[in-house]
């Protein structure tokens, strides 16, 4: 991609201390995000996609969580080495974040105006009146009707879709270069989801920011992302441009994920399934973590961790049989 990525995650390893010992939720994950690019991270529950986002933001619950290794370079600076005060300055201004739950991410006892202007005033030397004016502008930008009036509403006076718009307004109020969106539309109904995705897409183009969108929904990835990283059990199984991943998935897990998603356009008598379930992080299989569920497994798969290979420019897969052609 671009010569200088905006965000470069190198060999990130995040662990959680539990009663049964330490578990590795994110294991040696690396990816880049170019300025203005939309990277989708897709995976099922427990794949480590949200923990990756929290690690980048420095928002891991500590303890039990801990980044045990790797680098997170943002504009060339390692976020993991920043002092807390500087990281706090970074969050909300250079990197914005929106979460899944629009119902619980806003403070119920403050008006949305209080919450938006707080974000702005923490990061910029700006008066209360000017911050409020900016807040109203932001609410208008995210499509909230009569923002002058709505800015004094409390969160409970807004619907789920409106609250997510407020979250977006807050996240974007300081024009971040990077937005981390963790399942931003999962809690919303499908017609509202479409509105929010359109809004994010428009704002992304207008403001030229990069987005990392985390989702379990292949449809959201297909419509929204430029590149996609597929995570499985704490590792990236496959990564590449969105067109290639959907047309020619090389990792059997990606292929399985795509074929087990019911299709709205075509018609199949029976869904293809991936047998078994996600492995527990306590008893991870040796070698390739997908091997126990994989239809293309050979003995070598269990021997060691499969190396990540570049199948085509920008298209990587962590499967020893990736070069044998697209998996069916």
């Amino acid at each position: 991609m671009a010569a200088q990525p905006l965000l470069s995650v190198r060999n990130l390893r995040t662990v959680f201390g539990t009663m049964q010992g330490e578990v590795t939720a994110v294991d040696d994950v690396s990816f880049d995000v170019a300025p203005g690019e939309v990277l989708g991270i897709v995976g099922e529950s427990g794949s480590g996609k949200s923990v990756t986002a929290l690690s980048i933001m420095g928002l891991l619950p500590q303890p039990p969580g801990r980044v045990a290794g790797g680098e997170i370079l943002f504009d060339g600076r390692d976020l993991l080495k920043l002092p807390k005060s500087q990281m706090r300055q970074m969050r909300g201004s250079a990197i914005g974040m929106i979460f899944q739950e629009p119902m619980t991410s806003l403070n119920p006892v403050f008006t949305i105006g209080d919450q938006i202007t707080e974000t702005i005033r923490v990061h910029e030397r700006i008066g209360a009146a000017a911050a409020r004016k900016r807040g109203i502008e932001m609410l208008e930008k995210v499509g909230i009707p009569s923002p002058q009036r709505r800015i004094d509403d409390f969160p409970h006076q807004l619907s789920g879709g409106m609250r997510q718009r407020v979250m977006i307004a807050m996240a974007l109020s300081c024009s971040p270069k990077l937005l981390l969106a963790d399942e931003p539309t999962t809690a919303l109904d499908v017609t509202i989801q479409a509105q929010i995705l359109d809004l994010l897409r428009d704002l992304q183009r207008e403001m030229g920011m990069a987005i990392v969108i985390i989702t379990h929904n292949m449809g959201v990835i297909a419509e929204f992302a430029d590149r996609v990283a597929v995570m499985y059990a704490g590792r990236i199984a496959e990564e590449g441009p969105v067109g290639r991943i959907f047309d020619a998935p090389t990792h059997p897990y990606t292929a399985g994920l795509l074929s087990s998603t019911p299709d709205l356009v075509g018609e199949v008598p029976r869904l293809r399934t991936i047998p078994g379930t996600l492995p527990s992080l306590y008893e991870l299989p040796p070698g390739c973590r997908f091997a126990p569920r994989c239809g293309r497994r050979v003995e070598a798969c269990e021997a060691g961790r499969p190396a990540t290979q570049e199948i085509a420019p920008g298209h990587f897969a962590a499967c020893i049989r990736a070069r044998e052609g697209a998996s069916a």
Binding site: D198, A222, E223, L264, R272
Partner: protein, 339 residues
């Protein structure tokens, strides 16, 4: 999949449920009503699957509970195999309930954590008067096998299972009294996609094996399309459109169905397209708009829509639409590949 037959397995007519909103602590008075389900009619044939879709709060789950009489309707009629369940006595109801079961959405909260799998699965039979014994254990083991779990799991507790396995236990419980009709209330919504596909396939296999009829309630239109024979779309307590699956997805007639289909992100980057946006939110069911309930968000709304409720019209054989302008709105599928 649907077998031709004369009497439908389930017939629902003008089913209505209004929940009163009360105020006052000692003396309750009604200050409003949530019109959760309003004048809903449909039928399900033997061995058929009717998909019931809609967004949150549209009344689809309430409808599912009403047809099993888990909650009492305000008015309307529900007949199962020709028998009116709403006028049945409690004893008759218990007998009828053998034939109608439900699978719930949340595999975590719908299984009692203090009961073993055997107790959970056989609970419906014990309610019916069966007594525990080796014969019953055999039955539980057989049911576990039927849903793809190991028979030896009968002695385990729910926490020892994953979400998908728990949903299989919930299905085994529903199958225990050998029902003919099962309501699947968002039965696969909480599951990851690879596991969801396993459960969908299981439900289809069981339908074939035991000649089951399903009311499949879900918000995911792709899953509903896959599993259903016919589909009904609900909006604010009303069924706005009802048709066989092929015509509903290929030629939807109601503007809401069209908008719903246009909103779904399709897992195919080549179908990435400008969406027909549906503006605004779903209005409150406490004060639904006058006339057609969709008129506040409908791109085709006229004065007629704002004053008069549209009747359900059979626009084509088996294709029922509740829209004043059904004759003039083109039946285009937003899913057709563009250009």
């Amino acid at each position: 999949m649907s077998a031709p037959s004369t009497t439908p397995l389930l017939r629902v007519e003008n089913l209505t449920k209004h929940f009163p909103i009360t105020a006052g602590f000692f003396v309750k008075r009604e200050v409003g009503r949530v019109r959760a389900v309003d004048d809903v009619s449909f039928h399900i044939d033997q061995g058929e699957t009717l998909g019931l879709v809609g967004e949150s709060g549209c009344g689809k789950s309430t409808t599912g509970r009403l047809v099993l009489r888990l909650i009492e309707p305000t008015s309307g009629k529900v007949e199962i195999e020709g028998r009116d369940i709403l006028s049945s006595t409690p004893a008759e109801m218990r007998e009828l309930r053998k034939g109608m079961q439900i699978v719930f959405q949340d595999p975590y909260s719908s299984l009692n954590p203090r009961m073993t799998v055997e107790e959970i699965i056989l609970e419906p039979l014990y309610v019916q008067g069966a007594k525990p014994g080796p014969e019953m254990t055999r039955r539980a083991r057989k049911l576990l096998e039927t849903v793809g779990l190991s028979p030896n799991h009968v002695v385990r507790y729910p926490h020892e299972f994953s979400g998908g396995q728990r949903q299989r236990i919930g299905i085994a419980r529903a199958l225990a009294p050998q029902p003919r009709f099962v309501v699947c209330d968002e039965a696969v919504s909480a599951l990851d996609v690879s596991v969801q596909a396993q459960i969908v396939n299981l439900l289809q296999d069981l339908q074939e094996e035991f000649k089951l009829s399903y009311l499949f309630i879900a918000h995911d239109l792709a899953v509903v399309k896959h599993i259903s024979d016919r589909v009904a779309v609900m909006y604010l307590g009303k069924i706005v459109e009802q048709a066989d699956k092929a015509s509903l997805y290929a030629a939807p007639r109601h503007p809401y169905t069209q908008a719903l289909l246009a909103s779904i992100p399709v897992p195919n980057p080549r179908l990435r397209r400008p969406r027909a946006r549906l503006t605004g939110d779903v209005p409150s069911a406490m004060a639904p708009p006058a006339g057609c309930r969709f008129n506040t968000r409908c791109p085709h709304a006229t004065d007629l829509c704002r004053t008069q409720e549209p009747p359900a019209i059979e626009a084509a054989p088996g294709h029922v639409v509740a829209c004043h302008h059904v004759a003039t709105i083109p039946a285009v599928s937003p899913l057709a590949p563009q250009r």
